[in-house]
Every structure is written in C-alpha cells, then in structure tokens.
Amino acid sequence: MKYSTFILILSLPLFFSCSHEDETPSAPINNVISSAGIIEDEINSTSVIIYGDERRDILIAFNRRLQDGTLLDFEMVISKFPVVLVDQEGTEWDIFGNAISGPRSGESLIPLHAVKGFWFSLSSMYAEVTLFNEDSKSILPSDGEDPEWLVNPEMVFRSTFKDAIRSLDNPTFQSFSKKDLIDNIDLSDEDLVILNKINDEIYIYPINVLNWHEIVNHTVGNTTFTVSHCPLTATSFIDRVTSERFGVSGLLYNNNLVMYDQETETYWSQILNKGIHGELMGASFDRTNIVETNWETAKSLVIEDATILSFETGFDQDYSQYPYGDYRENQDRISYPLTFYDMRLPYKEIVLGIEVNGSVKVYRYEHFEQ
C-alpha cells in the first residue's frame, strides 16, 4: 500500500472501546457469559492465561509473566468487553493483551505461539499434543530426514500453482462510521474477522476475503505485516516481516498454507511459524497478538469509525461465498494426506493450541463453559 494511503488511514478518527477506558460499548451479547471463561495453566514451565468465549468465537492466550518477571494472577471481567481480565494488582487487560486501566496501564502481555484452528491441523503438525485436563498425548512418527527441509517433504503437496491464489499486495482499506459499517459491509453476524491493533488503531480483515486470497501484505508506516489465513486449517496469523511481500506457494503441509517470501523464495509453514525450505530455513516470524472473532462482536467494539479491508480488492470474486462448500462442517473432508490422524477430537473442531518448546496443549471451547 502507498504511504500516502497509510497516512490517510492513520489520520482517520477511529476509536474502539478498548482504547478508551471510560467508554463501554453496548455489546448485544455482553450478558451472555455461559460460554466464556478463563484458564490459568502451565505448559512446559510457562505460565499461561487463556480466554475462551464461544459466543464471540474468541480463543486467545498470553504469557502470565510480564517482561519484568512479575507473575500475574487473573480473574475474568464479565461486563466490560473488550476488557476481559483483571489481575491481582487491579490492572484491567483487553482481548489484545493491552492494559487498559490500573497501575500497569499502557503495558502489554507477552504473546504466545497460539494456534486457533481445526483440531486436525494441530494434531498432525506437532510431535506432542496434549489435551487440557487429559493425560493422553499423541506422539507423531518422526519425520523423514532431509537436510534441505525442516519438515518431511513427502507430506508437502502441491494443490495449485504459485500465486494462482493471489495475495493482496496493495490492500485498500475503507473507513466507515458505525452506522455505515452495519449498512454497507456485506458480512453476516457469524462471519469471522481478524482484528489487528496497530498503535491505537484497529484494522479489520474479513475472513471472507482471506478465504480467497489467504495473505494480505499490509504495510503501516515502516512496518510490514503479513496477515495470513489458511481456509483448509482455519488458522490465522499476523506476522511482522522483513520481506516486503509474501505469496501463496500453492503447496500445503498437512493441508496448511505454505507461504513464500518474494526476497529469498523461502517456503514458510504458516502454523509452525518457520521457514521450512530455502535460504531462511529455521527462521521464524515476529508473530503478533491476533484476535479472531465474529462480525457481531467486531461491530460491537466500534464506537465511531472502523477501518476495514475493502471488498474492492481488484479481484471480482463473490466474497460472500465460501469457496470450499461443506469443508468446514464435514468432519471427514480432509483433502491431502496428514502426517498423523488423531481421532481424540472431531477433525474440524475449532480449538486453541499453545506451543511451548515443541509441546502443544490444546483447549476446547467447552473447557471455558461456566
């Protein structure tokens, strides 16, 4: 995107309640809390806090330990969404991991490598996957050893050609008032969106658009973000990157998006957050906090204006159509072979997996029910 456009975007008066502690939006689903909850847990000696809210399609996780070494204990905040946590010191934290009020106002929680997506995408990707509150672990067969690959290349498949699924490289954003947002955006309440909070501004990326493009290369100021979504694993990430452009390689690893960077042509596994083949093999992205939620929730966060990825992308698909038919609902529909088929959960159940030093613990929405 051109810098002038970004300056324009940055100058837009966009306000979300999360950046205004004295404003509480009237979210229509604020009173429904039965599906929301928090879990404090330990994964490989790392203390984590997870917030789950099925009604809002939110599963997020943070490190409980701050940069200064303080270990926070949290309670859930019920009626001040997007503030969802309060710690023992009285600091209130929002869904982006930002301290909104209290003694640590302005600080941020440290993000974890958390993967929200289909169960099969986690259970096939990692060597050791444990379910929360259960002892059973899956141990994957070891990958074949190929010095040029970080993963077993025999499990990498070409579904289409490089760039045949075209990333959005010069994304256009539109600013809407709250009323116009509801009238003009062709999304239903249950459609998912990704929220990217940059400084105090929140950018909204509809999954309906990402289902078709999978990558948005979005530059804000001097920072380039790669916003990626794999429709086959239902996983979304936002990474701060150094290459100006990432593209869709047309390869899938365990049915998950494999990206390439324009500069070195290295292949990158979206879920693993690793270069898996090429010059930058083994390198990782600087992964940022991501909030994926439904449109109903996103709208409720808007106080005045919102900045949303435009549907006028230069491509003329009908973005309201999901391109893969019953893929999301059909539990048995997995197109390319997986490294491991773990039947402990339905393959397409949406879960959150938190990876710490190669071990993954998985949390289901039902774990948060109160």
Partner: protein, 304 residues
Amino acid sequence: MLALTVSIHYCYSQSCCTGGIPFTGSLSVNNVESKSLQLELRYDLNSLDDLIQNGERLDNNINFRSTHTVMLQVSYGLFKNFTISALTPYVWLNEEVTAFSGEQRYQSSGLGDLMITGSYSIINTNSTNIGLGGGIKLGNGKTKIEGSDGFVLPPTLQPGTGSTDYILFASFNHQLAIRKQAKVDGSVFRQFNTESSSFASFSSYKFGNSWQFFTTYYDQFLIGGLIFTPSFGLRGRVADEDEINSNLNNNTGGFWLSLTPGIGADITKKLAISVNENIPIYRSLNGFQLTTTHRLILSLRYTL
C-alpha cells in the same frame, strides 16, 4: 479498477477437459462395415479461460489452461453390425498463471487413458441406423507427473485419471426423406467412474458420473468435385461432483450446453477430414470453476 480473479485449492473441473482425455466428446461411435478397418486421427484443443462463479463469468481471469490431445481411434467391423474400437490419446497440458512476478507457465504431457468399446447396430437400414454400445476406460494414463521442483503436479496437469471407468451409449443416424443429402444423428453417453487411488496427490479421487448427449444435422454439397458436409449441432453434458476421499468436491460438476458447428469433406472415397468447434452457450456449474471457452476438433478418417 482492473478486475482479476484468483484460483483456489480445489478449482479443478477437469473431468471433461483435462485430467484425462475428453474421450466421450471425441469418440466416434459409427458402425463400421464387417471386416473393414477404420483409422481416425483426431486433434482436440480445449481452451479453458472462463472462470465461473455462481453461474457468472468473472472478468480478467489470471489463470488459463489449455489441453492439446492427439487421439488415434482404431475401429474394426468384427461381425455384421458389430464394431469394436480402441482409442488412445496423448495429451499436452498447459497452465498459465499471471503471477506477481509475471507470467508463469507450467506444462506436462503424457499418455492418457485407453478406451475400448464395442457397439452393435440393432437397426441398420439404408436410411437409418440405431446402435447400442458400451466400453471400458482403463486407468493406464500418467497420473503422477512431477514438476521441476519435485512435487507431483496438480490434477489439472495430469493426463490420466488412474481409474477404470465404464461407459454405455446409444446412437442413431437417419437420412432425411425430404432431402437425401441431409442426415441427422445423435448419441447419448452414460459414464460411470470409479475411485482412483493414484490420481495426483490424493489418496482417493473419483470423477463425477456423467451424461452426455450430441445431436447434429448434416448436409452435403458438391463443390469442385469434392463432397463437403457442413454440420450444426448441440452438445450437452451433465456431471456429478467429483469426490475426494469420498467427500464431494464442490467446485466440480454441473451442466454444459454447446453449439457444435462443423464442416467435413470427403477427400477420396476412403479419406475424410472434418473440423468441429464447440461454443459454450449455457453453463450452470457448481461452485467456482475454470471451464471451456472453446474447443476445436480436427479429424482425419481413413477406411481400409
């Protein structure tokens, strides 16, 4: 604003177009006289530039595909009214993607699937012929061609299907009483496909079963000592959705209707040539599909 369209992971729609030969669209089911041998060499160009979503053609597609197929069909009149036939194709597949860095071209070629048919004329008079037949398509064609990077190419660049499929057909032709030089013919094909465990990178892939029908009007004119046979017809095809691991691939299957103008000429008593074009006039396709923009078939037939 320039409008473009992108592909997706399962935008194949190749069951009649690529990923195996377009055999029922090119198969000749004419009755051959007893003890006569007929050789037919055909070239089939299938150009797929139309990207369809919800029944509408999207503009400025970035993905183009073409298949070039050379087919040899050998038919022999085994008994009176009974003809056996074998058709073998060789396929060149091309895909172009207008990528970020410019136009990328991908190609592959190889033997397609062999088809063997038998047909019997239940009515065979001077003016009318009605036949019934059936056949089998073997899964011998190449299905795991790799690209330069070592990965098996996507389904759209595989010449074979890897499946053994079955076909039933009925055909008729009738010389018009009011104009002896004019003829109408028609045929209906029903194809039953089976699962392939060796198609591209899939554990299991099954092309959707299909119906096809053809009806054509032919006339004849004598020009410069040669008999020319212009023709005009309709071709229709209805296909079920393909299946990946027994689950429907929603971006396949549908209904296609094409006009089929053509012209033929009898060069000698034994040698005939013809050219036919397929022009889509109606499509009702499932999901999101790259499909035929036009198709050209050149045919050279020699009867011994």
